[in-house]
Symmetry: D2
Amino acid sequence: MVNVTIWNEFVHEKIHDEAKEVYPEGIHKVLADGLAGEGYAIRTATLDQPEHGLTDDVLNTTDVLIWWGHMAHDRVNDQVVSKVVKRVLDGMGFIVLHSGHFSKPFKALMGTSCDLKWREAKEQEIIWCVNPNHPIAEGIESHILLEHEEMYGEFFDIPTPDELIFLSNFAGGEVFRSGCTFKRGEGKIFYFRPGHETYPTYYNPQVMKVISNSIRWAHPTPHTKPVYGYSEPVRPLGDILV
Amino acid sequence: MVNVTIWNEFVHEKIHDEAKEVYPEGIHKVLADGLAGEGYAIRTATLDQPEHGLTDDVLNTTDVLIWWGHMAHDRVNDQVVSKVVKRVLDGMGFIVLHSGHFSKPFKALMGTSCDLKWREAKEQEIIWCVNPNHPIAEGIESHILLEHEEMYGEFFDIPTPDELIFLSNFAGGEVFRSGCTFKRGEGKIFYFRPGHETYPTYYNPQVMKVISNSIRWAHPTPHTKPVYGYSEPVRPLGDILV
Amino acid sequence: MVNVTIWNEFVHEKIHDEAKEVYPEGIHKVLADGLAGEGYAIRTATLDQPEHGLTDDVLNTTDVLIWWGHMAHDRVNDQVVSKVVKRVLDGMGFIVLHSGHFSKPFKALMGTSCDLKWREAKEQEIIWCVNPNHPIAEGIESHILLEHEEMYGEFFDIPTPDELIFLSNFAGGEVFRSGCTFKRGEGKIFYFRPGHETYPTYYNPQVMKVISNSIRWAHPTPHTKPVYGYSEPVRPLGDILV
Amino acid sequence: MVNVTIWNEFVHEKIHDEAKEVYPEGIHKVLADGLAGEGYAIRTATLDQPEHGLTDDVLNTTDVLIWWGHMAHDRVNDQVVSKVVKRVLDGMGFIVLHSGHFSKPFKALMGTSCDLKWREAKEQEIIWCVNPNHPIAEGIESHILLEHEEMYGEFFDIPTPDELIFLSNFAGGEVFRSGCTFKRGEGKIFYFRPGHETYPTYYNPQVMKVISNSIRWAHPTPHTKPVYGYSEPVRPLGDILV
């Protein structure tokens, strides 16, 4: 059983009519609904909860953390951010959605500005798979078409992704590396672009299929923990040392 | 003319006899001597100078910054660290030597622990080139042999390097990814493993050749600065929008 | 159920005493024994069988093909090679062992010479994991120690691997990229270095664990087949065309 | 002085009015004109010349080979193809344009089908830079806009590129990895997508700037040739061997 925690800042959906209309109970609720039946144990957490709902107990029992944030990035407590980053380096999967590109934990794990171009114009986004046999693309056709999305355009200031899974074409002419994987420490990270708060993107079954696939992919592989620090030679040095 | 600043914490060489013997005027002095005649404008800077010698004026006129630190990483001021990171993302080349793997700016740019295995046993290191036509390997034979070095062993907790240039074999049996390149923002980063403070590594002409090559490689390529933020469509949206 | 076919040229073990002693019934037999109990449907095939045992029927029902060859690479029929390559591009997993680096299908899939340095001196090889949470490394400690192996040394003339999993340290001083993954077409390829015919490498449980892991990894992910050729626009061109 | 040879099959421009109109003296002539003044020594070669103009003498004195072909790929002699591949592995730079994705030497070096989606509909292509400080992008703004081009769409069946420099957005909705680098052996390869024979793409100064940059990038870096084959130990094995 994969333990998934969906974190959502849950601010737009309480104060902006357009977002409230599409996600009346919050983006996290629609994400959780969309993942129901996939066999995960799902919890949600939001900014306004104590410790943003990301207590030690929650983080330590989370296999994969999903993150959606936008207008309140700077209200996320730095200690919580440090704990999230530490847990990712320690093996927790981390799936960063849309405007989460500017979230504190994602920027800390990337080491770059994570800046990009953007435009809100209800324009068409077509997301193409460029890695057809990757587990994150399982069950996805050649492309996903979203009639209305916010545009994100290159240059996207991230480190070279370990794997490129999806590329987006926007009607206004831009492109974007929309599905990228990164390994950091023992943790696997997937950034997935779509999901503006005023469009019904997370009701799209193909978008949710990608997110569900990425949970299985990001779920920590059982592995031997790396050992660091002082280390005895494996091969005796006696005969070699001068 | 490439403007190079060599930063050295310069602590070991003042307080430890073994280091003082090998580098009486500091590692930075030997690095600067080794690069003389290569056509760079070289300055040095050390921890005990005001702002560690990395004033805005110095940083803003530095094309490539070389970094050696070890026992005093935590004495490096966080504001200076932020400025170094910002300058790298803005295009400044950054060459991190040996124990600089644990320096604050390198860790911030990598986003990982940068931890590793180590051993001080005067053991033999053989550094092999696995990228023979890379400009950083220009003029280097198949391998560089260092009779006495500190061992660094895998797992080295860094993001997947963009390019792997050198791998080390240690007599005691370990391996290490000793020459790695990374791009972060508009800046190029080269991590080069050898250079323990008690061994005469930076007097080795092949080691210095690699460092000199890496300066030329890391020197910012003239380029168009990325533009971020709100962006008008390149292709008119009028006919496409519903 | 994963259908695995183990291909072995099976020449050394019939004509060279040293190899016969270690692998009296052939390397393929020891590989098959080592994988028994892992839940795979295993077949073997050898050079001297009709079509080298790789008939259309066998290839088309093989999910993952393991390849060991050395002295008889040039006796492998070019048509069989083409079929193997085609099946890999079509999704079949391909695990290439040791001297298989010079096999025709591996070279065709890599596009390079796949040349390397070598030495037979019964020397110690220590294989280190540099990708600890990769599924191919599941259950493997920090390193695998093989008392006697043939040395393979860099520069290994392969394309940059998609992922680097293992690096070897040889007693004589060399290093080698011993565990490398590549994607080609819809197929996943894993090259794994150890396995000289005169040493009991394939009786080592850790070596066999890696091979077994790599079978699971290389097993084709269910996916949408890419479509190529003429393609209608997804977004109507009428309003855009001049 | 970089010795550049521009190879063009030069068939369309002799038999198809649309191509003849745009490139009356052949695509190679316009490429050569566009590179004049860049300081290269330029030769051209075409299919109908003896040995397609790629004699041993020409190939051995070529630093960077540019390749344009489309309808006559199968008329390129296999021996010439082998020589081109060998020279690339030996260090010659190789710049493959547009429909050259299906040329014999490119496919041999990639090891994949190099297949893709396509459409000729005079549609708009916008080529975005996703690697702004790469030498191949020097002097290029955020994007290059081509009013009329043939569409190439993903999935493009190539190995993971070493570096991704450009991505294309097509008006009809597709995306494409339009600027990709690969290292094979000692040679550097750049694939650049635009350049259909009926559109004036190679008169575009930005397109020619990219090609010129890629020549400088692909020009072989002076380097030590790798040595292969039997190799004496660097570190004496006597004391270690059992």
